[in-house]
């Protein structure tokens, strides 16, 4: 009886594994991306996933001598699905952030991008003076706090848009809780609403804004460019906490790309400026 039960159990396990367990293919690293965050990852009109992170993933996999598969995943469920082992890594413009580090781990960062406010070119906010060009959050000095407070004064009574569950949203709720906030499922939808005039400003990354700024002249950027603190410590590969070996492999591959200048070249190609780490 026990033997029969065991055999049924094994057969079922094999069936389950055979049917569903793509995870059993040990050599393939499955990398999730969102496909709606230009120029990190997006879809061209032919329906292909393209972008900085798609190129970067291909290069990293070559250097790790691994087979890679890119999986498309909506931003909303991207962390739960990593934990559930739907894929093994996330490369979706995701910043290293304390609250995320409680549930997943990160590789070293591969780009670090400042965050700022985007407004319509015909908005009264254009030309807002800022005493500082750039601010590093985290330990905010009195001078930096003054700049943030000034910005808060400018935005008082207005509505700011962010993408939901992002570091940008975290910044707004931590530093400017008084400002009306609208959260969008994608940044593209936020920009659509900025152009439609439903929000007065969008708080998002310079790298996302750059191609939009280059394409047309209907959007402008105001205020200081911010990094650090709730905005995280740079964009990195998101991994499961227990997969330390995979993290080391990613780190080593990123290091070699920094060392021979390929990462810098790739960043410049996609972002128009080198936002890769120097070491």
């Amino acid at each position: 009886m026990v033997a029969v039960m065991t055999r049924i159990g094994v057969a079922a396990a094999v069936a389950v594994a055979g049917l569903w367990a793509a995870g059993a293919q040990a050599d393939t690293i499955r990398i999730a991306t969102e496909g709606a965050y230009k120029p990190y990852n997006f879809k061209d009109a032919a329906g292909n996933l393209v972008g900085f992170e798609i190129d970067l993933a291909a290069e990293l996999c070559t250097r790790m001598e691994a087979e890679c598969e890119i999986v498309e995943q909506a931003w909303d469920g991207i962390i739960p699905s990593l934990i559930a082992k739907k894929y093994d890594a996330i490369m979706a413009g995701m910043s290293i952030k304390a609250s995320r580090e409680e549930v997943i781990s990160f590789s070293r960062y591969y780009v670090n991008t400042p965050i700022t406010f985007a407004v319509l070119s015909d908005s009264a906010l254009v030309g807002t003076e800022s005493a500082m060009e750039a601010i590093t959050l985290g330990e905010v000095s009195a001078e930096e706090q003054a700049v943030i407070d000034a910005m808060k004064g400018v935005l008082n009574g207005l509505t700011v848009g962010v993408q939901t569950s992002t570091t940008h949203e975290a910044f707004m709720t931590e530093f400017m809780p008084e400002i009306d906030l609208k959260s969008y499922d994608t940044m593209d939808n936020m920009i659509l609403d900025l152009e439609a005039g439903r929000i007065d400003a969008g708080y998002t990354s310079m790298t996302y804004l750059r191609p939009i700024l280059e394409q047309g002249d209907d959007i402008a950027v105001i205020g200081p460019k911010m990094t650090g603190g709730p905005l995280g410590r740079g964009v990195a590969v998101g991994l499961r906490q227990e997969d330390t070996e995979l993290r080391d492999r990613f780190n080593a591959a990123i290091d070699t790309m920094i060392a021979d200048g390929t990462l810098s070249a790739m960043a410049t190609e996609w972002f128009g400026t080198d936002i890769s780490p120097t070491e």
């Binding site: 159990g9 569903w20 793509a22 230009k38 559930a84 082992k85 739907k86 659509l192």
Partner: protein, 236 residues
């Protein structure tokens, strides 16, 4: 409105929409068939004399008709894998990812929701068959299988078809919700296109029209089927 965005090939989104429409149709068809399976099982439960089976069926229809389909999708997408993994780990010690393909889970979600409606349709259709017919079949010595296939199925199909037509429309429309978890069907194609071209109206009106055409075509199929099922019935 710029129609060149809807061209065929690499520059336009026409071929993406065509692929999306095929995906929508495929998910809706599988989900609809699945809903018939759920519907038949739970309708049988509801009609059974066993109190426990009736209670199970009532819980199923109450829950799936009472909570938004969007939540059903989120729950199964995020919770279903987790649940299966717990079971796999507990029973077989299997600690890998149980990959729930978007297509399969999407079909399951819509099939479950639509199944709650199918249950009521099928139950009503079975109840509409005059009891005397079953008794007559029994009297001439038909066994249970014969009674099911020769009396119950063809007759209830006639009563159920209009209701099932509604269930199909429901399944077809609900496929748009699967776009939220990333299945590239009509709605997701429209969302991606509108984001990348900044022409939301163009893309969503296209999606709207494709759904309209699909609904119209499938309605014609159901009307045909109804005419076929009623072929032996004299009408005024």
């Amino acid at each position: 409105m710029e129609l060149s965005y809807l061209g065929w090939g690499d520059a336009g989104w026409g071929d993406e929409f065509a692929r999306g429409a095929l995906m929508t149709f495929a998910v809706a068809t599988c989900a609809f068939l699945l809903s018939l399976v759920f519907g038949t099982i739970f309708a049988a439960f509801k009609l059974s004399s066993n109190l426990l089976l009736r209670a199970v069926a009532d819980v199923y229809t109450t829950i799936l008709r009472g909570i938004p389909e969007l939540l059903v999708i989120y729950l199964i997408f995020f919770g279903g894998g987790q649940l299966l993994q717990t079971i796999a780990l507990g029973l077989f010690g299997y600690d890998g990812y149980i990959d729930l393909p978007v297509f399969g889970v999407g079909t399951l979600c819509i099939g479950l929701s639509a199944g709650a409606y199918s249950t009521e349709v099928i139950r009503g259709a079975v109840l509409a068959i005059p009891r005397g017919q079953i008794e007559a079949a029994r009297a001439i010595g038909m066994n249970q299988g014969q009674r099911f296939w020769r009396i119950l199925v063809p007759q209830s199909a006639r009563y159920a078809l209009p209701g099932l037509g509604n269930v199909w429309q429901f399944a077809l429309k609900d496929t748009s919700l699967i776009s939220i978890v990333g299945l590239v069907e009509i709605m997701r194609t429209a969302a991606l296109g509108s984001g990348s071209t900044k022409q939301p109206f163009t893309f969503f009106i296209t999606a709207f029209l494709i759904f309209l055409v699909l609904a119209w075509l499938s309605q014609r199929v159901f009307l045909r089927a109804e005419a076929w099922a009623n072929r032996g019935v004299r009408s005024a």
